[in-house]
């Protein structure tokens, strides 16, 4: 088998059977990262030393005949908005370029405890605002399938790294599609869990009521394995839900017989590229052939989701990002006085898109505008939740394209509104707090197309089953970019 392409379960077997050490495995991935990075630039920080130290720990355990966890000794990387103690966490922003957190995010802690080997921090759109990773304050990341295209965003670095096999898995964050859209663009599996299923403690907030951390993986099985580690109630996050965490791998069943799948017609409206639609329609046929009952349905308020999202998310971000003022940490501009220090630090430290959203959000919350914008957006949010609740009285899962298009060319999209429209299928799910997964559904113009499945609150299990069944009956997830064929030949 080809090492870089191996599933988490296969890597675990190799480690357990001492066919390879964690150190060798880590070195292998670090070597591959060195080779791939000049073209991709999915990493912002590579933590080679820390990684090798951690790998050594696992190797000692294995040598001492101690049992190891399923993800123990396996390399991974985190989106750079997830706090890592002693390792820079920049949110791809100049304003946090020098910020080294004194604490670990809860997910970081959990992955550490699980024995995973952190090899680095991944590029993203600044503060997770964007859908191309071109808004990174440092450099854009390329799409592994076509270096001239974007990997999507904001978890572009995470998706590209997994697609390019730089890491077996990565974590991203999803506020309006930031895990699923880049997963679709890069041809990997991206899962956004139910709001409240994974702790947000230590995730640098963009929009608190929408943000959720989730895994980016090569397969649905890997997604379930990572979710097993990171999900669960966290007393440090008041919005995390005390629920009984199942073993998500139990849902990995190749069976959708009699599963009721709804296809909302609003997700196939104007703006959907015909070549993407063709792929999704083919996916629908796959499900039908496998015995699922697929039916068209309607979510009537979806057209208001996008404006409601951009008001709520921007309002929250205008407040969440107020703390970056140069006083306590981060970038501080040279200034004459206090107000000047605030303004200049923020003017120089933030990029265009971040400033645009801060201004939009500040405006939406201003006295006299609050009711017309923020309050109204919240009402729409309720209507959208109700639309989904209605649909889920009839269906187990909803199915749609993840994105209306394939990955854009680098620099192709300059109009922010056009970019916002690209999030139209992913945003409503965040507004409703639902779990959703994007998985490889095929190709259009040689680029991956993502299939999005949506479930009820805390119904990650049925989502995983639907996704797993599709994956087991298709080959799309097995394809890798041509340049990678050579790199992943290393045989064990």
């Amino acid at each position: 088998m080809k090492l870089l392409n191996m599933s988490l379960a296969a890597l675990h077997r190799l480690l357990k059977e001492k066919k390879i050490s964690s150190t060798e495995l880590t070195k292998e991935f670090l070597r591959h990262i060195q080779k791939a990075e000049p073209n991709l630039r999915s990493f912002l920080t590579i933590t080679e030393e820390i990684a090798l130290r951690k790998a050594e720990e696992t190797d000692k355990k294995i040598a001492g005949q101690q049992p190891i966890g399923i993800l123990e000794g396996i390399p991974m990387a985190l989106k750079d908005n997830i706090c890592t103690e002693g390792i820079p966490t920049t949110c791809a922003s100049r304003i946090l370029e020098n910020f080294v957190p004194p604490y670990d995010a809860t997910v970081t802690e959990k992955l550490k405890e699980a024995g995973t080997v952190l090899v680095g921090k991944l590029n993203m759109d600044e503060f997770a605002m964007g859908s191309t990773t071109e808004n990174s304050g440092f450099y854009p990341t390329a799409n592994p399938w076509d270096f001239a295209r974007v990997p999507g965003g904001s978890s572009g670095g995470s998706a590209a790294a997994v697609a390019a096999r730089e890491v077996p898995f990565a974590l991203g964050s999803d506020t309006g599609g930031s895990i699923r859209q880049p997963a679709a663009f890069c041809g990997v599996v991206g899962l956004k869990p139910t709001y409240g299923a994974v702790s947000r403690y230590g995730l640098v907030a963009f929009a608190s009521s929408l943000d959720q951390i989730g895994p980016l993986t090569k397969t649905v099985e890997d997604s379930a394995l990572v979710l097993n580690i990171i999900a669960g109630h966290d007393p440090k996050d008041s919005t995390s839900v005390p629920f009984i965490k199942p073993d998500y791998t139990q849902y990995l069943e190749n069976n959708v017989k009699d599963m009721k799948i709804g296809v909302p017609r609003e997700f196939f409206a104007q703006g959907l590229k015909p070549e993407v639609q063709t792929v999704i329609e083919e996916a629908v046929r796959v499900y039908e052939q496998l015995g699922a009952q697929v039916e068209e349905c309607s979510l009537p308020h979806m057209e208001y989701a996008l404006p409601a999202y951009y008001l709520i998310a921007s309002a929250e971000c205008s407040s969440n990002l107020a703390r970056y003022d140069g006083v306590r940490y981060g970038y501080r501009a040279k200034a004459e006085d206090m107000i000047d220090m605030f303004t200049t630090s923020r003017t120089e430290g933030f990029g265009q898109e971040v400033k645009r959203r801060i201004m939009l959000g500040t405006y939406a919350l201003s006295s006299g505008y609050y009711d017309a914008y923020y309050a109204k957006a919240q009402k729409i949010r309720t209507l959208i939740k109700e639309d989904f609740e209605q649909a889920f009285t009839k269906f187990d899962v909803l199915l749609s394209p993840t994105t209306p298009t394939i990955a854009y060319r680098l620099g192709e999209k300059t109009d922010p509104l056009a970019l916002y429209l690209g999030d139209v299928y992913t945003i409503p799910i965040n507004l409703a707090g639902l779990p959703s997964i994007s998985l490889p559904a095929g190709f259009a113009d040689g680029m991956p197309v993502g299939l999005q499945l949506i479930g009820k609150h805390f119904a990650e299990g049925i989502l995983l089953r639907a996704a797993y069944t599709f994956e087991q009956n298709t080959e799309h997830h097995k394809k890798i970019p041509a340049w990678l064929e050579e790199a992943s030949k290393n045989v064990f």
Partner: protein, 483 residues
Amino acid sequence: MSFSDKFELVCGVETHVEMATKTKIFCGCSTEFGGEQNTHVCPVCLGLPGVLPVLNKEVVNLAIKAGLALNCIIAEYSKFDRKNYYYPDLPKNYQTSQYDLPICKNGWLEINTPCGKKKIGITRVHMEEDAGKLVHSGETITTSKSSGVDYNRAGVPLLEIVSEPDLRSVDEVLAYLEELVQIMDYAGISDCRMEQGSVRFDVNVSLRPRGSSEFGTRTEIKNLNSFNSVRRCLEYESERQAELLLKGEKVEQETRTWDEGQGITLSLRSKEEAHDYRYFPEPDLVPIIIEREWVERIRASLSELPAAKRERLKSLGLSEYDAAVLTSSKAMADYFDEAFTFGVDAKTLANWIMGDLSALLKIDGCSFENSPVSPRQLAGLLNLIKDGTISGKIAKAVLEEIYKTGKDPEVIVKEKGLAQISDAGALEKIVEGVLAANTKSVEDYLAGKETALGYLVGQVMKATQGRANPGLVNKLLKEKLSR
């Protein structure tokens, strides 16, 4: 000149009280005052990227308690909101506070006025976090080359108590504040350490012609931290507004600040420059649902409030004045109550607490809470007077000795041989000796000079180091002299 003939003062107060919890409102850091700068801090109260608040339930308990003590309606559904503004002492550049759904509203408290009791409305009570403190290198912010921030106080829980504009004189305002602070103290909401800035006031002041029922234009004066400042500030501000109105000028609606040194208020910002705080619901916290059972549990734990305590003390035969002094602090009132359980006379006890013991405590700046003389010891002392073991004069000396050594009064009396000499036989000898040594006084007395008896009593007391039973000495002397 005085404004009060022409104008009536209309005042409402926002009071910020630091709550007496061990830890901060959204993290586990200590709320202790006076630690080394930036030592009671963690990623959460420093507002580092990625942190989240977790509500300290004790804060909610105390807020409910405060609401009950102030006769408020306790909300069944309450939530936190973010108040957005930029200042370096505010780690997140927003304050987590409560906006449209405060935890308590529509309450009142009662004050005494020259015209009898008056109810002052409480509009609302809400929870919020305190900010840090700027530390200037120079005297003031304007004369400093640099300023630092101490975040020890950031995240200390605050209760904001907003009164209705029901107060009509400076005295009423003071009476309201004193009563409010006492209630907070009694209910255990706050230590109310004014000198540490744990209680702060914003006052809204306006004037209107006497007889008018409409409100005039108000100014808000922020951040007063003592009763005295409030009094001086209100006196100044009402004069200032009266002068403007008498000249036919307008009072500007604005926020002002009190300059303690100069004794004047200064304009801080006008209505047009007023902050737009862009309040919105705090998305990092979940709404607070308060079931009736929770409220009743807190109600059951609520201790006696000052007004009730004053009435009870009066029913023991104490005067209005004594009751007011004894209840002026919860510690003193508790001290009285505990000592009273040892079966002493209320009035005598009150006198000793308000007089000698208070004076002793004052010297060392001690409070009744940590008085070196325990209530049991004071009661024991009073019982020694009552049963004639020692005289009131000796008792004062014994009290000082208890204060110094912590020993029980009975032990001190025994060790130092201070017990009153009530043995007639023993005293008789001493009396005879005194009479023999003071023949001049004896003659004076026999010649009709009554005062000479006092001198002779004094001589007997001197000879016994004050231990002689004064009644008995009197009796014996009179007996001997009449022979």
